[in-house]
């Protein structure tokens, strides 16, 4: 019933309907009820702004309903609003035939002003009145009958939570005589009399007294943020371990089907590894999006924005930057997309440019491995906190510099509506989460798979036969039995390391090693850093191979312990250890600040419509990371750490 071509034998008339209304009027919820399905995100021609579209059959009419971004008036202020207005005016040849104007009963006078403006479009209209219950709870009861008479337009009261009135609305949209309806729109309609408040203090007023309290408010916000981190880091980990396990099983299975060859290595180490590396983000992205949707749908997000506006303005951002920046702690990609809520372009660009500095979930395994290898647990916790802090401080400084130089000025404003508190609907959370996961897999996921395959190829080729012959001879010489099996296994791992050591990737590592020498990185760490540029999670398996461990999965425990051991015991040719706490610290600072994610850069390109911002972000972050790593290593060496 959801396909646009779901018609049977009878002729089906297609009717393009646009859902229009102010932000938070309940359009998305309404669309889900109307069509009973998840929406299909469609990009507006020539923009990155997505609208969701869904279709439903009602009698002989196929309603194709598009959800337009919320507008406050026909004079647009943000990119999203501009898209809506252009679309209403028929840009791209897709003018709607019928408007479904969504009016929020709880702020009727403002909504009616928009309705009045929309009449000037001379498009047939059906009014969907939402949140009548909310209006009553807030002390502003609405007389629906009288309102309809005053407006002179078809009007249906709908309930976004229970779905009541939806069937009625669907039929009205399908059955409306479009020609006659235009005449109704042209008539000015009466403005209903002023609303009278019947309640002194509503439930939302009482909750706000607590959540916006000068002392309790910030405390609750900290708790909410803490809960979010807890959710993203702890609840997601079993799911991530499961995906990693599944990747191993699939890799082994594929490996057993194909004989040892470049093809097998491509399939197992390139393709399966790449798909696994992108799927492993799904639990965290899903949980984060579900949490953020929940916070947003409950009405708390607007309060968080208000609580943080003052602090964020000090560094040149807006309270609204809170949403994308918080999201970036899980993954910068949805965070960058979420920056669309910023209506000032300069605020938005500054937010996008600093969002990747928030320590995302892909950095965590790197921190965990290095901290566990070189620091006692008590110190590790503090250092982990400091690494997250490093990103936040760097973001504040960069944002401030940007807003005082290239992004100077700009009339950013807050004018933020604080919606009534509501219980979030599960269906809405599910739909948003699914859309975000699908969007991630399509854009960033694809980039990660391609990048992984490229790194695999650089690390695989060339394959000189001499190495193979040398190890084949050694393997043949190994004694039979258990001892020999262990020896052969070790030889296999050494062979993999030998190949990698003369690969194109290692050549690049050695060529670039002088650049990283001031930070204390040897050529192997340099290779690890290079391999991490497409996606930072690639560093662990790469270091694993370099330190002759055979294949190391990103966080399977047994392999990790072996990696820890060999990181600790690795010696340079002159017998000095190549890694110590100081180098590990420099490396972690590098990872904290460096732009090592092709997916993020792709998202920035998409959201800013130019290569300038991804190139700028990559350059400044990588420079900053290098400076920080060098500063830590040089300063630490001066103080006598790490000998």
């Amino acid at each position: 019933m959801t396909g646009a071509n779901a018609g049977g034998g009878t002729a089906v008339a297609l009717r393009r309907v646009a859902l229009v209304g102010r932000a938070n009027a309940g359009k998305t919820s309404l669309l889900m009820h109307l069509t009973g399905s998840l929406q299909r995100p469609v990009n507006f021609p020539g923009t990155s702004v997505e609208r969701t579209e869904s279709s439903v059959r009602c009698g002989d009419v196929q309603l194709q309903i598009g959800d337009l971004p919320g507008i406050a008036s026909l004079t647009p202020h943000s990119r999203d609003e501009q898209v809506t207005v252009q679309s209403l005016r028929g840009a791209g040849g897709l003018a709607p035939e019928l408007l479904c104007v969504v009016l929020d009963a709880s702020r009727l006078p403002v909504e009616l002003r928009l309705l009045h403006e929309l009449r000037s479009l001379r498009l047939p209209m059906v009014v969907a009145l939402t949140k009548v219950d909310v209006a009553a709870a807030e002390g502003y009861p609405v007389d629906v009958e009288r309102l309809q008479q005053a407006l002179g337009l078809p009007l249906v009261s709908v309930n976004g939570a229970s779905g009541a009135g939806i069937d009625d609305l669907r039929c009205r949209l399908a059955d409306l005589d479009l020609a006659a309806a235009v005449a109704e729109v042209a008539a000015p309609g009466h403005v209903p009399g002023p609303i009278v408040r019947t309640l002194a203090r509503s439930r939302t007023d009482r909750i706000d007294a607590f959540l916006l309290h000068p002392v309790l408010g910030p405390l609750v916000l900290l708790l909410v943020l803490g809960g979010m981190f807890q959710l993203v880091f702890t609840v997601a980990s079993p799911f991530m371990a499961w995906i990693e396990g599944a990747q191993e099983v699939v890799g082994d299975h594929v490996g057993s089907l194909v004989a040892a060859s470049a093809v097998r290595s491509f399939l197992v180490d390139g393709l399966v590894n790449g798909v696994g590396s992108s799927l492993v983000f799904v639990p965290q992205i899903a949980l984060l999006v579900a949490f953020v949707t929940c916070v947003e749908a409950s009405g708390y997000m607007a309060r968080a924005v208000v609580l943080l506006d003052r602090v964020l303005r000090k560094v040149g951002l807006s309270g609204k930057s809170f949403v994308p920046l918080t999201g970036s702690f899980a993954c910068a990609i949805p965070g960058i997309v979420a920056s669309r809520i910023l209506d000032d372009e300069r605020d938005r660009l500054a937010t996008i440019a600093v969002a990747p500095l928030m320590s995302c979930s892909a950095r965590l395994p790197v921190y965990v491995v290095l901290l566990a290898a070189f620091f006692p647990p008590q110190q590790a916790g503090l250092l982990l906190f400091l690494l997250y802090g490093l990103g936040v401080v760097a973001a504040a400084v960069v944002a401030m510099l940007l807003r005082r130089t290239v992004l100077r000025g700009g009339g950013s404003f807050l004018t933020m509506e604080l919606p009534v508190y509501q219980r979030p609907r599960l269906g809405l959370i599910g739909a948003h989460t699914w859309l975000a996961v699908r969007g991630f897999l399509r854009t960033a996921g694809t980039v990660i798979v391609v990048a992984t395959v490229v790194v695999w190829a650089l690390g695989y080729f060339p394959r000189p036969a001499a190495i193979h012959e040398r190890f084949e001879a050694a393997r043949a010489a190994a004694p039979a039995g258990a001892d020999g099996d262990a020896a052969r296994e070790r030889l296999d791992a050494e062979e993999a390391a030998a190949y990698l050591e003369q690969s194109l990737l290692a050549d690049a590592g050695r060529a670039l090693q002088p650049v990283f020498a001031p930070a204390g990185f040897d050529w192997r760490l340099t290779v690890g850093v290079l391999a991490a540029f497409p996606a930072r999670e690639l560093v662990i398996p790469t270091l694993g191979t370099l330190y002759s461990l055979g294949s190391v999965e990103a966080s399977s425990d047994a392999a990790d312990t072996r990696l820890l051991e060999s990181l600790r015991s690795a010696r340079a040719t002159d017998g000095k250890p190549t890694m110590n706490g100081l180098v590990a610290l420099a490396m972690m600072a590098f990872f904290a600040l460096c732009s090592q994610c092709a997916g993020t850069l792709a998202a920035i390109r998409r959201e800013t419509h130019s290569w300038r911002w991804p190139v700028f972000t990559f350059t400044y972050m990588t420079t900053l990371a290098w400076l920080a790593a060098v500063a830590i290593y040089q300063f630490g060496s001066l103080l006598g750490y790490g000998r």
Binding site: V110, L212, V305, L414, T415, M416
Partner: protein, 86 residues
């Protein structure tokens, strides 16, 4: 914090006392912010109630046409109002 205002006098919205109401006289300026304020419901005759402020006194919280809106102090300063109730 609430400034004592002469009766029936006009003043800028941030000076409105907590839990007090006022009627909007006009919104100063003709730019994106003033249009945004107008679209949010700040037009002459609209009744505004000051609900309070965020911690540290900024942004300010108002009720207008039955809904709540947060404005920064300098945004609210654009709105000229007339005292309505004590």
């Amino acid at each position: 914090m609430a400034v004592v205002v002469p009766a029936a006098g006009r003043f800028a919205l941030p000076e409105l006392g907590r839990r007090c109401c006022a009627t909007v006289v006009h919104v100063a300026g003709d730019d994106a912010l003033s249009r945004r304020l107008a679209a949010s419901g700040f037009w002459s005759g609209a009744v505004v109630e000051r609900l309070g402020a965020a911690p540290f006194g900024d942004p300010l919280l108002f009720r207008l046409h039955g809904y709540r809106i947060a404005l920064r102090r300098e945004e609210a300063a654009r709105v000229v109002v007339e005292e309505r109730c004590a």
